[in-house]
């Protein structure tokens, strides 16, 4: 691969001489009807560097990507890529750039090899070059053993690698990857990073767009987008330096951490705060004194440690800080009293679809008032497990209970004890906000005064009054999430199930959401949550890690991280911990397989 790319890109740089800008963006604006996707900004992207196009969903990342590949025409301003205007020299753009769309753009009913052949021919490569380049690319992506497999049957990670191989077929000078890490497990994600690293080392310009802010820290340069505006352009370090010496951790606050976070966030000098296992991490506002937080640390008897700032902290700071620490919702809810300490439990839970096992022999117990996280890559079986626990799927084997009701025999009474917030919020777009609230109150059997009272409560708590007659589809994301939460909580369930509640949501809305969840947990509501944001697992009391239908670990976030400490990672993150666990699970599988062979 190295040799190949050196040959392509080396020449180009020598000839282009001094300017090493791969992409020049000049005052680009794009709107779709009334919606402004890009609000006019300029930036440069350079050869030999990995540039992160970072921002929450709806920030304008995909629009900018499509403009750079000549698939969209900007309303004003211009973009040149490798010296070609993306509008006027559209044909040239398709030759010098490789593009991997956000959705898997390859043919699922063609095999890996057939897809590669198609792209090789579309890129005008001679047939006699094929075998050599294919060999290099297959080796590079480690897809060699799977050439005959249909692309639709590949795992998420392998699909992205195949997409990458096809985008690289052209020997592009600029490689544009739109959210390549979505739906990819952390292990495959490492692989993608490694590949991209090699490509940039050879001089290619690589643009990696992502909604995961932690990925920004791995890029050499970052374009940070928010609502179509360029908020920051430069090395990520530069942005995190802006909040240097303003990040602290209140260590070892343990069982008190939720109230500590709530109090910290209510301090005027604190701009942002999150839970990290046993600790609470806070970021002070610009120019703020340490005094208030010191006092708080003394009161709760915690040690206050300065810590390295993170990119996400800096982003929140850039946007003027997160929400306060008090949940108006939780304030209104009475403390939940349950007969038993165990809110949710399952034993030997198994679900098979045909000969495919989605959930394999999973057992655990969740205590009352606990926040319990279910983590794992796409297809690991967390959604299936989740659906069995809420009574939406019937287990093939094993049993599950919610607040003492067996889901096999008392599905109805178990369901009345739980609130469920589905992925993507699942609100009714053709009903108004008010009608959505009335509907969910209705399906949970609320009537008359109680129904009216609960609905009014939710409207007040979540500040929904201004939107009552509009469709949920036109609500800002944050309000959509509030409405979905309101609908799930209408009947005051002691157990709340949240399926990927924060996917596609910007970090500030996520903060607000977790403030509510923390508040609810303090009132004794048991929270079951699935997430693919590894850092969000830190909010959980305990985390169950799922991989290939099995439960591979179940412990507190801190304990999971502790277990992953080694020379390479002295202070591992949740993601490191996850990779460590998956790798040891794979190793187990292999040893077992080998052992069987020996026997």
């Amino acid at each position: 691969m190295n040799a190949m790319n050196a040959a392509i890109t080396g020449d180009v740089f020598r000839r282009l001489g001094k300017s090493d800008a791969a992409v020049v963006i000049e005052d680009v604006a794009k709107h779709f009807g009334e919606v402004d996707a890009l609000r006019g900004f300029s930036a440069e992207i350079h050869y030999g560097r990995l540039t992160g196009l970072v921002g929450p969903d709806g920030a304008g990342k995909t629009t900018l990507m499509r403009i750079m590949t000549g698939l969209l025409v900007p309303n004003s301003g211009r973009v040149t890529l490798a010296g070609f205007d993306v509008v006027e020299d559209n044909d040239a753009i398709h030759i010098v750039s490789g593009y991997m769309p956000q959705r898997f753009g390859l043919y699922e009913d063609l095999s890996v090899m057939e897809n590669m052949q198609l792209y090789a021919q579309l890129r005008g490569m001679d047939a006699d070059q094929h075998s050599e380049i294919f060999a290099t690319l297959l080796d590079f992506t480690r897809l060699g053993p799977f050439t005959k497999r249909l692309a639709g049957k590949l795992s998420g990670g392998m699909k992205q690698k195949l997409g990458l191989a096809c985008a690289l077929m052209a020997k592009p000078k600029v490689l544009l990857l739109d959210e390549p890490s979505v739906g990819v497990d952390p292990v495959s994600r490492q692989d993608l990073w490694r590949m991209v690293q090699e490509l940039t080392d050879d001089g290619m310009a690589v643009v990696w767009s992502t909604a995961y802010l932690d990925e920004a820290e791995r890029c050499q340069n970052v374009l940070l987008l928010n609502e179509g505006k360029l908020e920051f352009d430069g090395p990520p370090q530069e942005l995190t330096d802006q909040i240097k010496e303003r990040s602290f951790r209140l260590e070892q606050v343990g069982t008190e951490r939720r109230s500590v976070l709530s109090r910290a966030l209510n301090l005027a000098t604190v701009g942002d705060g999150v839970i990290q296992g046993d600790a609470v991490r806070v970021v002070l506002r610009e120019g703020a004194e340490r005094e208030e937080i010191d006092t708080l640390a003394n009161e709760v008897g915690a040690k206050l440690e300065p810590v390295q700032p993170r990119f996400e902290d800096a982003f929140i700071d850039l946007l003027g800080g997160g929400p306060g620490g008090t949940s108006a919702l939780a304030e209104r809810i009475d403390k939940i009293e349950l007969d038993s300490q165990v809110a949710v439990s399952c034993r030997n839970l198994t679900k098979r679809f045909g000969d495919f096992t989605a959930t394999d022999n999973v057992s655990f117990e969740v205590q009352k008032g606990e926040i319990f996280g279910l983590l794992g890559p796409n297809g690991a079986g967390k959604s299936t497990t989740f659906k069995m626990l809420c009574g939406l799927l019937k287990p093939t084997e094993g049993e599950a209970q919610v607040v003492g009701h067996d889901l096999r025999y008392a599905t109805g009474s178990a369901k009345s004890q739980l609130g469920y917030m589905a992925q993507k919020f699942s609100l009714y777009g053709l009903l108004s906000v008010k009608q959505n609230l009335e509907f969910s109150a209705g399906v949970y059997g609320l009537e008359g005064d109680i129904k009216r009272q609960r609905i009014n409560e939710m409207i007040e708590t979540f500040d929904l009054a201004q939107y009552l007659n509009t469709s949920p589809d036109s609500l800002p994301l944050g309000f959509k999430q509030r409405l979905a939460l309101a609908c799930a909580l209408m009947h005051r369930p002691p157990v709340l199930f949240l399926d990927e509640p924060t996917s596609g949501v910007d970090p500030i809305t996520r903060r607000e959401f977790w403030t509510h969840i923390n508040g609810l947990a303090r009132k004794g509501v048991t929270i079951m949550v699935t997430t693919h944001f590894m850092d969000e697992a830190e909010y959980c009391d305990r985390v169950a890690m799922m991989y290939r239908a099995r439960l591979i670990a179940l412990d507190t976030p801190d304990a999971l991280k502790q277990g992953a400490i080694n020379d390479a990672h002295p202070d591992p993150t949740m993601e490191d911990a996850f990779i460590h666990l998956v790798e040891s699970a794979q190793l187990d599988d292999e040893t077992r397989a080998n052992a069987q062979v020996v026997v």
């Binding site: 020449d11 180009v12 000839r15 282009l16 499509r66 590949t69 000549g70 698939l71 969209l72 025409v73 490798a82 010296g83 070609f84 205007d85 006027e88 020299d89 559209n90 044909d91 040239a92 398709h94 030759i95 010098v96 750039s97 593009y99 991997m100 769309p101 956000q102 959705r103 898997f104 753009g105 390859l106 043919y107 699922e108 009913d109 063609l110 057939e114 052949q117 198609l118 792209y119 021919q121 579309l122 890129r123 005008g124 490569m125 001679d126 997409g163 096809c166 052209a170 000078k173």
Partner: protein, 394 residues
């Protein structure tokens, strides 16, 4: 940026290394796209279902289940008069092979059977039958009552009853016909008047519409829906190559299905192919131009499989079914509807198909039909090409 600048940059960026890449139209790329599409078509069970199983089912339905022939229509004959001539006329009704007679004495018996749908009508031979015969007006010797809810059958019963009466009168006069001219009808092209012979060629038009319009609309919309179009658009392949690469395999599929259907028609359903195979293939190939063009246009406007299939159903399949003259004669339609049929490519195809099967190579019929289909096809393609740009702008 001027062209010269581009050229300089081209050589700077080392693009001239492979001139082929820059070409607007390249056979290698087209071949790659055709190969991809063919592989997909072969692997997709729904394509096989639509292209090969559906035609067989449709042909069998139209050959055996659907029949426009009138045979053994059940009618009642009410004999109110006991005279010998009246009985002789009743016997004449019973003796035809197109009618199945239920004899009765009282019209109330059969009237109820008509209401319940057991009979399609009845003939009353009245008490004063003899007097009427004497008066010499053949029109009013009998009364014919028919079930108007089935107009075609009602017409048939009325006309046929009259015919029977006339024939009977003629034979009574010992070979001296009542009317001076004796009509002996002879049906050309389909001497036995078997509807199967005109329905089966028509069914081929329906099948081709399904493959050409429906299948094409679906497969192109699928590319938009699955995001594969976005990836292909970002390669050097041109719009022309993408469109042709998409259509060529379905063109071939359509032709294969036509040949298969024609073989079934000729060998299984015994519909004669009086024209040449070359004419049949030419007509079919030209019909595929508007059919594929329409499918392409639908998919590039809707970009969504569900919507595309609905639009294809309403704008392609139903008109081909109802307005092509295949089931319902165009001449019998109200004038505004007749005008609309001129916009339906299947109309011309059905006309040519029926000619090539039942009459032979009548180029005087084919040529105007071919020209009309070609014109509609070019119109669809022109719009589809305009609607498909090499970007994602709408």
């Amino acid at each position: 940026m001027s062209h010269q600048d581009t050229k300089i940059l081209d050589s700077q960026a080392g693009l001239t290394q492979d001139e082929r890449v820059n070409r607007k139209f390249d056979w290698h790329r087209l071949f790659a796209l055709v190969r991809k599409e063919s592989l997909q078509a072969i692997r997709d069970p729904s394509t096989i279902l639509i292209a090969f199983v559906l035609p067989v089912i449709l042909l069998f339905l139209f050959a055996y289940a659907v029949s426009l022939d009138v045979r053994e229509v059940r009618i009642g004959v009410v004999l109110e008069s006991d005279s010998a001539s009246a009985q002789s006329l009743a016997a004449a009704f019973s003796g035809t092979r197109y009618l199945k007679v239920t004899p009765a004495r009282d019209r109330r018996e059969v009237a109820e059977l008509v209401v319940s749908g057991d009979l399609r009508g009845f003939v009353v031979i009245p008490q004063d039958f003899e007097q009427r015969l004497e008066s010499g007006n053949p029109q009013s010797v009998v009364q014919v009552v028919t079930d108007g809810s089935l107009p075609n059958t009602a017409n048939f019963v009325a006309n046929y009853a009259q015919g029977v009466v006339l024939n009977w009168q003629a034979s009574r006069h010992n070979g001296q016909p009542v009317s001076v001219i004796n009509l002996e009808p002879r049906y050309w092209f389909n001497a036995e008047l078997e509807s199967r012979r005109s329905l089966v060629p028509g069914a081929i038009a329906i099948i081709m519409t399904i493959i050409g319009t429906m299948l094409t609309a679906l497969v192109v919309a699928r590319e938009w829906e699955r995001g594969t179009m976005e990836a292909v658009l970002s390669t050097p392949a041109s719009v022309m190559e993408i469109l042709i690469g998409k259509l060529l395999p379905y063109f071939v599929l359509g032709m294969v299905a036509t040949l298969g259907s024609a073989a079934l028609a000729a060998f299984v359903f015994e519909v004669p192919l009086r024209g040449s195979l070359l004419a049949l293939l030419t007509i079919s190939a030209v019909f595929l131009i508007p059919a594929l063009g329409q499918g392409l246009l639908i998919s590039s406007v809707t970009k969504n499989q569900f919507l595309a299939s609905q639009v294809a159903l309403f704008s392609g399949f139903l008109p081909a079914f109802l307005l092509s003259g295949f089931l319902f004669e165009i001449d019998a339609m109200p004038v505004p509807i007749q005008i609309i049929t001129y916009l339906i490519p299947a109309r011309y195809f059905v006309s040519s198909l029926q000619t090539v099967f039942l009459a032979g190579d009548v180029w005087a019929v084919f040529l105007p039909d071919l020209a009309a289909m070609m014109a509609i096809g070019v119109f669809f393609f022109a719009i589809a090409k305009r609607k498909t740009r090499k970007n994602l702008e709408t």
